[in-house]
């Protein structure tokens, strides 16, 4: 099935709404939809999180595996991202329909996390220099596509990385420059991923008419001429900016949009971090008291 289409009448309605700061669902231009975020859902993953922003649903699983170092970077571990849109997420994803979108999202996610802007201390992920290192596989699965996909994926990934625990390793020096290591089995001794809170969050702005909005629905996304994704970390630094869409914009509007994205990102990071921190504390507390920890589960977020 081809990509969804939108009628000119509907497009005009949405454009007028955006111009008057009152969108089809009553939100203002820079208002987000209802957000549900939960981490620690999957037992087989090193870390996991699920986020539902409006109706867009993304599940991220992080697996930590041991692999060989790259020959030209012998002292660092690696982060490998992959995004997959489930064929069930939208009618346009059947068969190979999601291929292009998967590739675009994977490359964009890789741009955010691969490098110093990702915030991680990759040297800490090295087990034996020149030999073995931790590979962090980030796999994002889109379960429901209702607009604003990339922002949701990055938010969920951030929560999943906060939830990730890396097992402790004990390195033994066999002498003669030979090393061997053992992975400690104890779950309690696993360490969190250092630098996850320095990782960025992405705010994507969609230009409709002469104004721009944040967090669009499916129909609003179809009206957007220019799409600007801006990655911002908690220090207010830009960690990756990309323009997509088939339109163009004036340089002054471009700087304005980047500025707005930064201003929206900082309180968003703050709220997300506070929530993740509070949830984690509550869970630890319950475990200490021996109480049953109940997860919301996959259907609880569907309002």
């Amino acid at each position: 099935m081809p990509a969804p289409v939108i009628s000119p009448a509907e497009k005009a309605y949405i454009q007028d709404g955006v111009a008057h700061d009152c969108r089809a669902d009553g939100r203002s231009r820079l208002e987000y939809r209802h957000l549900v975020l939960e981490s620690g859902l999957l037992s087989q993953a090193g870390g996991s999180a699920r986020c539902r922003l409006g109706e867009t649903d993304v599940l991220v699983g992080v697996k930590v595996e041991i692999g060989e170092v790259e020959p030209d970077k012998p002292n660092v571990g690696r982060i490998l991202c992959n995004v997959e849109c489930a064929p069930s997420a939208s009618q346009q994803f059947e068969g190979r329909g999601a291929d292009d979108l998967n590739n675009t999202l994977t490359q964009a996610l890789d741009r955010i996390y691969n490098g110093p802007q990702g915030g991680f201390d990759l040297e800490k992920l090295c087990i034996i220099p020149g030999q073995s290192c931790w590979l962090i596989y980030i796999d994002a699965m889109v379960m429901d596509y209702a607009g604003n996909l990339f922002d949701t994926i990055v938010m969920t990934t951030r929560a999943a990385l906060q939830d990730t625990r890396i097992p402790k390793t004990e390195v033994q020096d066999l002498g003669d420059g030979e090393f061997e290591f053992d992975v400690v089995d104890d779950v309690e001794e696993a360490e969190p991923l250092e630098g996850w809170d320095d990782s960025p969050v992405v705010v994507t702005l969609y230009k409709i008419g002469e104004r721009y909005i944040v967090d669009p629905t499916m129909l609003e996304e179809l009206c957007a001429q220019v799409i600007l994704s801006v990655g911002v970390n908690k220090h207010g630094q830009l960690c990756g900016t990309q323009k997509s869409g088939l339109g163009s914009l004036e340089p002054s509007l471009l700087s304005d949009m980047i500025q707005t994205a930064t201003q929206l990102a900082l309180p968003l990071i703050d709220k997300l971090d506070t929530k993740l921190h509070d949830d984690y504390e509550k869970e630890l507390d319950k475990r200490r008291k021996g109480e049953h920890v109940e997860k919301m589960g996959f259907f609880a977020a569907v309002i």
């Binding site: 020959p71 292009d100 590739n103 994977t106 490098g115 990756g240 163009s248 914009l249 471009l254």
Partner: protein, 254 residues
């Protein structure tokens, strides 16, 4: 397994050279490795008409970067169906020998992403509404690469000139420029050696007559004001390149 080609062994690696001291990208007298100053762009060579079979073609050389672009169109859409506007597609390919590490014959994710970026950068300039039911295909072949961002910028420039050479109606030429950022330093049009040693980069494509930006790509961790300054410098660089592009097109008419 690719049965159409002669495959070598399954894994082979590029040799890693025992590195001598890396040349500093900006030495004491503010000169870069290739003796440019921080805001000098590499010298540009553009010529149209390289591929005789194509409706339009162009060749660009920017320092060591060499790219050939061929444009076929407007021609019939391969898919059945009606579209009220023309379709612009791009096939971006690095030749196997163009980069330090040998590239596969199959299109890898980076090439597919660059193809998409190229379409998004050029579409605002092309008058697609004048060619319904038609397709314009742009084929980019990178013969030698020297810096990913600079390569992408050069590809946008050569594609724009090739489109004009093909006689496809456009609203404006699309120029592009890239820059590298490291702490307080801004290096315009960075080479691969400089790219390896810096964290941040910016690539901007711009239509000078309409004063509109058609593509922005920023990577690395940078402060907001540094990025704004880099984008402004890139737009200035774009305006400088516009003159060379127009000159090469006028020359092709003579």
């Amino acid at each position: 397994m690719d049965r159409r080609r002669v495959n070598g062994p399954e894994t082979s690696v590029t040799p890693i050279f025992k590195s001598s001291t890396k040349a500093t990208i900006l030495n004491g007298s503010s000169k870069r490795i290739d003796n440019r100053s921080a805001d000098d762009l590499r010298p540009l060579f553009l010529k149209t008409g390289l591929v005789t079979q194509a409706n339009g073609s162009a060749y660009i050389e920017m320092g060591k970067i060499k790219i050939v672009c061929a444009v076929y169109g407007p021609r019939q859409l391969k898919r059945v169906g009606f579209s009220s506007q023309g379709t612009l597609t791009c096939d971006f390919k690095f030749s196997s020998f163009s980069c330090v590490q040998r590239r596969n014959h199959m299109r890898d994710p980076q090439e597919r992403e660059y193809s998409t970026i190229l379409v998004q950068a050029l579409t605002p300039a092309v008058r697609l509404e004048l060619i319904p039911k038609s397709a314009v295909d742009i084929y980019i072949n990178v013969l030698e690469s020297d810096g990913d961002n600079a390569c992408l910028a050069a590809a946008i420039i050569v594609a724009s000139v090739a489109l004009a050479d093909a006689g496809i109606e456009m609203l404006d030429q699309v120029t592009a420029c890239s820059a590298l950022m490291q702490e307080k330093m801004l290096l315009m049009d960075g080479t691969m050696e400089e790219e390896d040693q810096t964290d941040g980069s910016v690539m901007v494509s711009y239509m000078p007559s309409l004063n509109e930006v058609t593509s922005v790509l920023q990577t690395g961790k940078t402060n907001l004001d540094e990025v704004n300054h880099a984008m402004e410098s890139c737009i200035d660089g774009c305006s400088k390149l516009y003159g060379v592009m127009s000159a090469s097109l006028i020359e092709s008419l003579q």
